[in-house]
Point group: C2
Chain length 497, copies 2
């Protein structure tokens, strides 16, 4: 049985316990671990590390693809193992430690981390810990539900620990397409010309001599917590689908649309679900995370092909899809996140990118990361890779939060992740603002008219009127730009008493 | 003589006066004009338009490559011809009208304008006005000192007006490399793999039947106003060259460095001049504007090849270089700005991008465009195309302005063009901060320690200390984030009395 998963027989004697494998990781090391949006993360070695940290000093720099599942970031944070963490996380315990300044968190565009490692601008990677479905006869590593940064971690690391997860379907083999850009200054074009372009190998090619330990696990990925569509998310989806329909009528898009990317979360998921009932057909996705909606679109016959870097599903969808993953195999590719998110490919394919904003301002600047301008939520993820280079950079959010005390459309965002140059369309349940080709004063008009909640509209009008007196390309009154935030802090609401 | 420049004889009867040609442009039209950083701009037809606007209503949307010379934007603004203007400008009269809200200015990444036009998300382009050195026997347009957006304007426009400028050297023929990406969804990789890759035609290929008018001019480009290096710009250059040297010693770069891009302006020019005395050699440039420093580097034997979209020189350098441009031809390529600034190519080549910041903040966010957060200076230009995708995104500025009353390093920039995710290194004459791999709190430390002027250091420390009490990934005290600006407005200085 294990020989089906570890096919290079010389590696069978590398099988050991997680605790033994974890001994390869020493205090002060930089460790690259698999895992992207809870999918395909290393599940045993990190826990063994946390256990060891109870009795000896053990602090590491942890680099992953994106967020991990199974509360691993919580456990590692509580054990004080994490000194530095990049490029993304979505863990409440880690988040609190980051915001206390205890863990140094480097929030990066998800396509860029391996570029920095490869050029020796960060690193080196001492140890890689990679979950795999199998190791081939040649010593190639077959990933599981995500590729993330695993390929480059394994290639660059001094030593590699493999977690063979018997709980992951062996049928994932063949879904992955591992391509590593050639080294600059001799880099060739990345040959992806369509979401279904296969350009690499179905496994991560490394020297098997680097595989220093193999750990056997048997555990499903953490499932995604899905929130069912509600009136607001359905309204957002409705506005967006109507807009895409009008783009088709204007001859800018065909009914196949353009390859779709959707960020993680309930709004993006609701938008994609909305496409099931839309007039569009034979659609494709070129995204990072494939969620329930991808498989619902497949099953509805609307989706022809999906490329991503990970598959993150609800428990119900996991139970439905994973045992039958072979059935989807000819319509699916999982790529390194460097390729799924590569500016070159995104610009070439002409992607429609739909990402969730934490908030946006009346000029179309988007905050994706910092609550109140200061406290990290999760990180920018791939939203910058996609929005900057997309055919259409779309940001969605509900207009209100916290029972209506907070407006998600504000005079000035206190942290900018995507600026006016990169944001084409913003949508709330109130409506949609098409910002393309508009000057800032024109954008303020359509955003206030179309997107802000009625409860905050007069307040926004007041600010904008005062700002206009000050003049400029982008009128602001700096002394009052953040009064909605200071009021929130003082009174618990952005609304005046 | 004219037959040497207009080689397709059927076009000779299209020669007419600027006033006659300008009649092709009607009120309400969208017009694409050649011109990038004063180079290769249409010089006669825009003035004829302004003249006509004295007697009839004539308002247009004007799209160019980048800034124009000869005060053309001033003349057009004063004649109220400009209703909308994009994607860049650097004219004081136009700037004032923009900031009064009279001209709608759309500030775009310079690589993106033609992408939006081609996909019909903006436009259509009614008339293109293109300066040319010649028209070939096939009707191909040979540009002059810039390519900018001229190729796509000419291809997309209903009608094309050519300004044959006898004052531009015919020897420019052969320098240009005109490549237009194929239409999505069938776009091929852009085959530039090195600054010297020639991938297109030496002229703009259009149907000669579209050439509706030809105007003959005889006028040099406006020369660049150059400021000689001073102590501060020399210090900035020194810090940067020392940094690049340390990157070579660490094995991250070779002594050839990586292809260089430098924004326009005296600081970038001083940095490039500094390279003449550096240990680096056989360097290349993959930039947008080639300035005096490019030719000084050629003449010093340090530079092997330069690719750009325009050549903008001082009067003295024009007089020296242009008559001998043939001598440089095998080391020079001028490309469409879509290609010189293309994210795909910039990421592939691994460019060292050096751009001027208006100001930056203690966390490494850069404002390139908005004075005081509200008033447009010139526009983002290509800095976003380059910084986001560069191997190294470097921003330079003097630490002080206006006789020391203004600090160019502030607690929070009131407009963000390049955020923490895109800025690798910041430099003032005080020193250099290498931000790679640092969390925001760590960045604040090195920026305050290395870059801010001593007169503002305590003030910045005070702000940061207070901000730390508030906590977060990126500590701020929003109520006081802009007090330096409000103090400047009230007292004329960012420094307290």
């Amino acid at each position: 049985m294990l020989q089906d998963r570890i096919r290079l027989s010389s590696l069978l004697d590398k099988v050991m316990s997680p605790a033994e494998a974890a001994l390869l990781i020493k205090d002060g090391m930089t460790v690259g671990m698999s895992g992207f949006t809870r999918a395909g993360d290393a599940k045993a070695v990190p826990l063994a590390l946390a256990e060891r940290a109870r009795t000896e000093p053990l602090g590491i720099t942890l680099i992953t693809g994106a967020s991990l599942g199974s509360g691993i970031d919580s456990v590692l944070t509580e054990a004080h193992v994490l000194k530095r963490r990049l490029p993304f996380q979505s863990d409440s315990v880690l988040r609190a430690a980051i915001n206390r300044g205890e863990v140094m968190f480097i929030d990066q565009h998800l396509s860029e981390t391996v570029e920095l490692l490869r050029s020796n601008q960060m690193g080196p990677v001492d140890v890689a810990v990679i979950e795999a479905a199998a190791i081939t006869r040649e010593g190639g590593i077959v990933p599981t539900t995500s590729v993330g940064n695993s390929a480059t971690f394994a290639i660059l690391a001094e030593k590699v620990i493999i977690e063979i997860n018997l709980g992951q379907q062996i049928d994932f083999e063949g879904i992955h397409d591992i391509y590593i850009p050639t080294r600059r200054p001799f880099r060739e074009p990345i040959p992806v010309v369509s979401p279904d372009s296969r350009i690499g190998l179905p496994f991560i090619p490394i020297d098997p001599a680097k595989i220093a330990a193999i750990v056997v696990t048997n555990q499903q990925d953490s499932s995604a917590a899905t929130t069912p569509p509600d009136d607001e998310t359905r309204a957002i989806a409705g506005h967006l689908i109507e807009f895409l329909g009008s783009e088709v009528r204007k001859g800018r898009l065909t009914e196949r649309l353009s390859p779709l990317q959707a960020g993680i979360g309930s709004i993006a998921n609701a938008v994609l679900h909305g496409l099931i009932e839309s007039p569009f057909h034979d659609m494709t996705m070129y995204s990072e995370v494939l969620q329930d909606s991808t498989f619902d679109l497949f099953d509805s016959g609307k989706l022809a092909f999906a490329s991503g870097s990970s598959i993150t599903l609800s428990a119900a969808c996991q139970a439905r899809v994973f045992p039958e993953i072979g059935r989807y195999k000819n319509r699916l590719i999982l790529r390194p996140q460097e390729i799924s998110n590569h500016p070159e490919v995104i610009r070439r394919l002409g992607i429609i990118a739909i990402n969730t904003a934490l908030e946006f301002d009346i000029y179309g600047n988007v905050n994706s990361t910092h609550v109140g301008g200061t406290h990290m939520m999760n990180g920018i993820g791939g939203s910058g890779d996609f929005a900057r280079n997309a055919y259409l950079g779309i940001f969605v959010t509900k207009s209100l939060a916290k029972g209506g005390t907070i407006s998600r459309v504000v005079p000035m965002v206190p942290h900018v992740d995507h600026n006016e140059h990169d944001v084409d369309v913003v949508v709330t349940e109130v409506g949609l603002a098409d910002l393309r080709g508009l000057a800032p004063r024109e954008r303020a008009r359509v955003i206030i008219d179309n997107c802000i909640h009625a409860n905050f509209r007069d307040l926004a009008e007041d600010y904008y009127r005062e700002a206009l007196k000050h003049g400029g390309q982008t009128p602001h009154k700096l002394a009052e730009a953040f009064t909605w935030y200071t009021r929130l802090e003082e009174t618990g609401s952005m609304l005046p008493k």
